[in-house]
């Protein structure tokens, strides 16, 4: 361990997950609107991945892959009430056990509030979302210290009480369905900080980075999840005026956004009918305003890492865990399908010693970031729970650039139907299930320019993304479909063989239930 920290005492990693951020709304990816000048600037001096894909279509499977280095079929953390099996040692656990200080700043309740194992291995984890956020302590020596202590105690008790309740919403139960009624949506989106506190979390992460610089003491892994571009959309006025200048003069646009922001059920399922022109433009422009607002706030982080200390010592990774459907192909949100708007994500890495942009054209997966971070910290191999040790360098995005032969020859992305959304459709829109094959798992295999989407038990569709980036014209090539299907079958067979002995299970409120029971029996206070 001493040797490990000897090698790493000056190294840090900052990972910024832009939750629900489309790649095609960034200037760096060719978007003509000035939505992301700050991130574009950082991207212009980074290892820039033109075609990164997410392993899953939403937060839970995608983060589980990022934290374990495995695909969804292997980690089986697919639903809001799934917990990461215990045998997976998360990235934070691996780093923490070698002496790296691991700190999370999180705005997404699916990552920070649910007791699903995603926080495993973090030495410090701050939740900006939820009924009672937990944020970094202020200075310890001010005159308000006694008040702060009392407040801390009070919030700890509140948190203890509220977390089990918030976890109960993860299951596709009556709690969850009730909460989606338009009357209740403003309550949990605002009072329960559903999208966290973007501005505050960015400010406090920037301050944390500045403290690291002042201390000149490395060995930090910092994870920041931002939710500003997630529904509901309510960007500040100046950004609405810039990106949707017609909004305040168009009652139809305002009415549509008011309704959209309250009808949370419809964030999760395919569209009953396509958006009309005003709806489509409004949604797209308001989304852009959110992207621009978040980018504006991110200037604080980008300034903080612009110092010579961080340039020399800190690897900075920006990515999205998935994109977002804004009406394309009949879909809204990020519950179903594997279209490029949803699966292709922004990814760039600013590296010490990299002085100018280096563009990587071939396709990579954000799952590989697990190995990339380990590679940066000097791990050679990664023991995995089911497989033999993995050669970190071959999976790492830092070295596969120069060692193209040993990287993956294909990539796989998977969309398991979210049970919560299926329950909604069963209750309210059963016809949509059939129309969109929503009850079936979709899996995509990428190889070179080809993408085959297999809808389990239904069909297999082949696209050539080079000539058909919008996936509008599937083409027939039975030989290629068979070859890509064989790759997929191989992955699924391997995943199935690895399931034996897995401890996969649902999130449980067992601790609280048992503690209450033992308290009633007089065995606990």
């Amino acid at each position: 361990m001493k040797d490990f920290m000897g090698k790493n005492q000056h190294k840090n990693v900052l990972i910024v997950v832009l939750d629900t951020h489309r790649y095609d709304r960034m200037g760096a990816y060719g978007y003509p609107r000035p939505t992301t000048p700050n991130m574009d600037s950082l991207a212009s001096e980074s290892l820039f991945f033109e075609q990164a894909i997410a392993p899953g279509q939403w937060t839970i499977p995608s983060h589980a892959s990022l934290f374990t280095g495995e695909g969804p079929a292997v980690h089986r953390t697919l639903q809001a009430d799934d917990a990461l099996p215990k045998e997976f040692k998360t990235l934070a656990s691996r780093l923490s056990s070698e002496g790296i200080t691991t700190t999370g700043f999180c705005n997404n309740p699916l990552v920070g509030i649910l007791q699903n194992g995603f926080k495993r291995g973090f030495d410090h984890f701050y939740n900006y979302c939820g009924v009672v956020p937990s944020t970094p302590q202020k200075s310890k020596d001010d005159i308000w210290q006694p008040v702060r202590k009392l407040w801390t105690k009070y919030t700890q008790v509140l948190r203890k009480l509220s977390y089990p309740i918030q976890n109960a919403f993860a299951s596709p139960n009556e709690f969850f369905l009730g909460a989606l009624r338009p009357l209740f949506v403003p309550i949990w989106t605002r009072a329960a900080n559903f999208k966290g506190m973007t501005a505050r979390s960015i400010k406090e992460t920037a301050a944390f980075l500045e403290r690291i610089e002042q201390d000149q003491k490395g060995g930090h892994f910092i994870f920041l999840n931002l939710m500003e571009t997630h529904m509901p959309y309510a960007p500040p006025d100046p950004f609405i005026r810039e990106f949707a200048p017609y909004f305040y003069e168009t009652p139809e646009a305002q009415q549509f956004m008011r309704s959209f922001n309250r009808k949370a059920m419809q964030w999760l399922i395919p569209l009953e009918r396509p958006f009309n022109a005003v709806e489509s433009a409004t949604l797209s422009d308001i989304y852009d305003a959110e992207v621009a607002y978040q980018d504006h706030l991110l200037s604080q982080i980008i300034t903080a890492i612009d110092s010579s200390y961080h340039r020399d010592h800190t690897m900075v990774i920006f990515l999205a865990d998935h994109g977002e459907m804004l009406g394309e192909h009949g879909y809204m949100g990020h519950g179903f399908g594997l279209h490029e708007e949803l699966i292709r994500v922004p990814l760039f890495i600013r590296l010490p010693e990299l002085e100018k942009v280096r563009r990587v054209e071939h396709r990579v997966s954000i799952t590989q970031l697990f190995y990339t971070v380990m590679d940066y910290f000097g791990f050679d191999t990664a023991p995995m729970p089911y497989a033999e040790e993995v050669d970190v360098a071959c999976q790492s995005l830092l070295r596969m650039i120069s060692q193209k032969d040993c990287g993956p020859s294909h990539l796989i992305s998977e969309a398991y139907p979210p049970e919560n959304a299926i329950r909604i459709m069963n209750n309210h829109y059963p016809e949509l299930i059939k129309q969109f094959n929503a009850g079936h798992t979709h899996r995509a295999v990428y190889q070179r320019d080809e993408k085959m989407v297999a809808i389990e038990g239904i069909t297999k569709i082949l696209y050539n993304l080079a000539g058909d980036p919008d996936e509008a014209h599937p083409y027939q090539d039975e030989t290629r479909i068979r070859e890509l299907a064989r790759i997929l079958d191989g992955y699924l067979d391997l995943a199935a063989s690895q399931q034996k002995g897995s401890s996969h299970r649902k999130i449980s409120l067992q601790d609280d239930l048992i503690q209450q029971r033992l308290r009633d029996l007089g065995y606990l206070e």
Binding site: S508, L513, I514, Y523
Partner: protein, 164 residues
């Protein structure tokens, strides 16, 4: 081996011969563990939910008593009924059962990772069936000159009431 018992919890219908409790163990979650220093070399009853709060400053030998889950639940239910608290525990037996299975899995996993804790698992039901055999295992585990016959005499099958 001396057992640390405070005698605060009196015998009742559930346990007519009394409880082997030491109330201060309940303070472990708050970090109050200084008292452990005074009881090195002695035996203390600690429920599974509190084991993970034991400080690393000492080495422990844990005799982990296992019992059929359904019998545990039946026994607890009876105790709750007697104390009038059964209304507060409105979850189904199936949910509670699974919770206990998961909880025990977690605690065992935790114990397995701690090199400063040695654990032996003994079966409550086997102790009733073949006390001598099980007590010999415990004595060997503790590596002490214990009076196995006296240990066997403590077992009272008359207290085995919640059977499957």
């Amino acid at each position: 081996m001396t057992l640390v018992i405070d005698g605060i919890r009196n015998p009742d219908d559930d346990n007519p011969k009394g409880y082997y409790e030491y109330e201060r163990v309940k303070k472990l979650p708050q970090g109050e563990a200084d008292w452990l220093k005074s009881y090195q070399g002695k035996g203390i009853k600690i429920i599974s939910a509190l084991l993970t709060h034991l400080p690393e400053d000492y080495r422990y030998q844990v005799i982990f008593m296992e019992r059929d889950i359904d019998e545990i639940l039946a026994s607890q239910q009876r105790m709750l009924e007697r104390s009038g608290k059964e209304e507060e525990n409105s979850v189904s037996e199936a949910v509670m059962r699974q919770s206990y299975i998961d909880h025990l899995d977690d605690v065992k996993s935790w114990l397995s990772e701690k090199e400063w804790i040695q654990t032996i698992y003994v079966s409550y039901n086997k102790i009733l069936q073949n006390s001598e055999n099980e007590m010999e295992k415990v004595a060997a585990f503790l590596n002490l000159e214990l009076d196995v016959q006296r240990m066997v005499e403590i077992v009272d099958p008359g207290l085995y009431r919640q059977r499957k």
